[in-house]
């Protein structure tokens, strides 16, 4: 597919953020994903043209980073943290449960294209373990049941809001636009910090440990 002139202009604005064009390759790949849901051949060719590097070099970069997908993922991409701490705290049980519930394995997408599943590594929210990310939004302190409900609701088009994030869950493509550095105006939504983040502060305000 061809890119619209508006999309081309956005790509040019992304390139303009950097002293050297090549630096724009990562946000451009995120941006291509926001349009197509994954890194398409057309996207690779367009990026190659915009930043004047060989298509092979764009491919080399896009295949290095796990967030860039070479095939379409679901509208809601569910990542279950299975790194040690989350796994021990229940991530393994959550993954097994939701995988069975959806009938798909790691890297697969439901037939309706709504939900895809990925075993993900640590996502810097260990004090909220076990953690599940949907379209890279935090769903804290999850259980097998809560995640099954989450994916059911997502398939029904009514996903719950992230624990720490915008008021309603955005799609994979919409959030890819955020990762490309384009504002969706939702920064003001959601909490400043979750309870565990504020625990030390709270204890301090209360003046002591006990």
């Amino acid at each position: 597919m061809a890119f619209t002139s508006e999309q081309e202009a956005i790509m040019d604005s992304i390139v303009a953020r950097y002293p050297r064009k090549r630096s724009a390759i990562m946000p451009l790949l995120h941006y291509v994903q926001s349009i197509s849901g994954y890194v398409t051949p057309e996207g690779i060719e367009k990026i190659s043209e915009k930043i004047e590097v060989a298509t092979a070099e764009v491919t080399a970069v896009s295949t290095f980073y796990t967030q860039y997908k070479s095939e379409p993922v679901g509208e809601y991409h569910v990542g279950v943290c299975i790194n040690t701490l989350c796994a021990v705290m229940g991530g393994d049980e959550i993954y097994d449960s939701v995988s069975k519930h959806l009938g798909i394995e790691n890297g697969e997408t439901t037939k309706d294209g709504k939900v895809s599943l990925e075993r993900i590594e640590c996502n810097a929210a260990c004090d909220y373990a076990p953690v599940v990310m949907v379209n890279w939004e935090f769903f804290d302190n999850q259980t097998p049941a809560s995640v099954n409900q989450l994916v059911d609701a997502a398939r029904a088009g009514n996903p719950p809001a992230p624990t720490r994030g915008p008021k309603s869950l955005r799609t994979w493509k919409q959030n890819s636009e955020v990762l490309a550095g384009l504002s969706d105006g939702l920064a003001g939504e959601g909490v400043s910090a979750g309870e565990p983040s504020k625990l030390g502060l709270k204890i301090s305000r209360e003046g002591g440990a006990k």
Partner: protein
């Protein structure tokens, strides 16, 4: 009186702490005013005098790093903030940036001024959409308020700040891999020398600092060197964020002076979850050799943890109780390092691939005593042989777990598989679900 010292987290309980108004209300953007009154060299000296050390793991003195940047070389300089927080267990920078992104922006302005950089970058991991939103918005607000852009505060200092979003690669936390990634290449570490201070981003003098290091700078400017030095221990000055996770009653973030012990922190966190005992823990993420109950009183500063045989790292305290199988833990971390190995060098690429297979066999009860010797020999052939420190981190959980729990490895063979019930260590078990 609590030992806690909330500074970076002091406003996190404000609903608008992440906005410029919220930040200003709690004293934000005062530090840049006094910093820009000083000469850049004075700012560097101040940070040097404070004793602030890098909060990303290595603990290199921040002011000294700034001082390495050649001055008067008529080249562009860059400040790059490493917000690629990905080390397993590490979860301090993301909540900090979600709740208080402006403290980082203010720190960046001061740091850039000090090292004479007119363009700074934040390299943030890509798997955290809402944190990206908050930082992006903070930068936009700072531009609008005149704290970024041309002629900041009328002092003739120009600074552009660009947020660069990663895409899932732990190795980009390594500073030279981060620079390659930021330049649009695969995030593989570079040969050193040249060091980034001489030839970093775009081969220009560059400082790469951790989020928390840079975010600590405004408080030092505001409160002075003495204030900062009043906290911490002899060589590890100041306050820092400790992150408790795992089998504790109340996991979370605790900002305290360097040198606090896990015993003290556990008291604040309500102890190990009821009815259980601590088995092993990491002082600073998975690549720091694990500790056990015997290390509860080790001072959590750079020297104290080092003397006890590990590293302070990112102060990511992952706590595991007696329900946790250490072989499973070691395997999972090794799988992580295999997944994140960039592939550039042989020992890391092939070694982590092999280690995972051996640990799988050991977990399945298919390993023997001889295999443990082979495992350790393999670790010896990987550690210190690789291009960067990733592989050193990869073998740390294996070597340290074998040091403390060798019998548990062998118990898997005797048992014909893992003797632990994984359900018992879950949070649902804890909550009685």
């Amino acid at each position: 009186m609590s030992k806690l010292t909330p500074v970076l987290s002091a406003n996190w309980d404000q609903a608008d702490s992440f906005t410029i108004e919220g930040y200003k209300r709690s004293g934000g953007y005062k530090a840049i005013k006094s910093a820009l009154e000083k000469t850049p060299d004075e700012v560097i000296q101040l940070v040097k005098d404070s004793g602030l050390r890098g909060r990303g793991g290595a603990g290199f003195p921040t002011g000294m790093k700034w001082g390495f940047i050649p001055q008067g070389d008529n080249k562009e300089h860059y400040l790059v903030v490493n917000a690629d927080e990905s080390e397993p267990g590490t979860c301090k920078d993301m909540p900090l940036l979600m709740a208080n992104p402006h403290v980082l922006v203010e720190g960046i302005i001061i740091g850039s001024y000090a090292i004479r950089a007119n363009h700074a970058f934040i390299y943030i991991r890509g798997e955290v959409a809402h944190v990206v939103r908050r930082v992006q918005e903070a930068i936009a607000e700072a531009y609008k308020a005149g704290f970024l852009g041309k002629n900041i505060l009328g002092k003739g200092f120009d600074l552009d700040l660009t947020l660069h979003v990663g895409a899932g690669a732990y190795i980009c936390g390594e500073e030279t891999a981060l620079l390659d990634s930021l330049e649009g290449f695969r995030g593989q570490p570079r040969l050193r020398p040249p060091f980034p201070a001489i030839a970093g981003l775009y081969a220009r003098p560059t400082v790469v600092n951790n989020v928390e290091s840079i975010a600590s700078v405004p408080s030092i400017i505001n409160n002075g060197v003495e204030w900062f030095q009043s906290m911490g221990t002899e060589k590890s000055k100041g306050y820092t964020l400790y992150s408790l996770s795992g089998h504790v009653a109340n996991p979370g973030q605790f900002e305290a002076p360097l040198g606090i012990t896990l015993r003290e922190l556990l008291e604040l966190a309500g102890g190990i979850r009821p009815g259980h005992q601590i088995k092993f823990w990491t002082p600073g993420g998975s690549s720091t050799p694990m500790f056990t109950a015997e290390h509860l009183d080790v001072p959590l500063d750079y020297e104290g943890v080092g003397a006890a045989g590990s590293m302070l790292g990112t102060k990511a305290l992952q706590i595991f109780d007696e329900t946790t199988c250490v072989v499973r833990a070691a395997l999972r971390w090794t799988e992580f390092y295999k997944h994140e190995s960039c592939g550039k060098c042989t020992p890391c690429r092939e070694g982590t691939w092999w280690l995972v297979q051996m640990l799988h066999d050991l977990e399945d009860g298919k390993g023997s005593e001889e295999d443990l010797a082979k495992l350790l020999d393999l670790c010896d052939n990987i550690a210190g042989r690789s291009f960067c420190a990733l592989a050193d981190g990869a073998v740390a959980p294996i070597i340290s777990s074998l040091k403390y729990f060798r019998d548990e490895y062998l118990a898997h063979q005797k048992n014909g598989g893992c003797p632990f019930d994984p359900m018992k260590s879950t949070k649902f078990e804890m909550a009685g679900i």
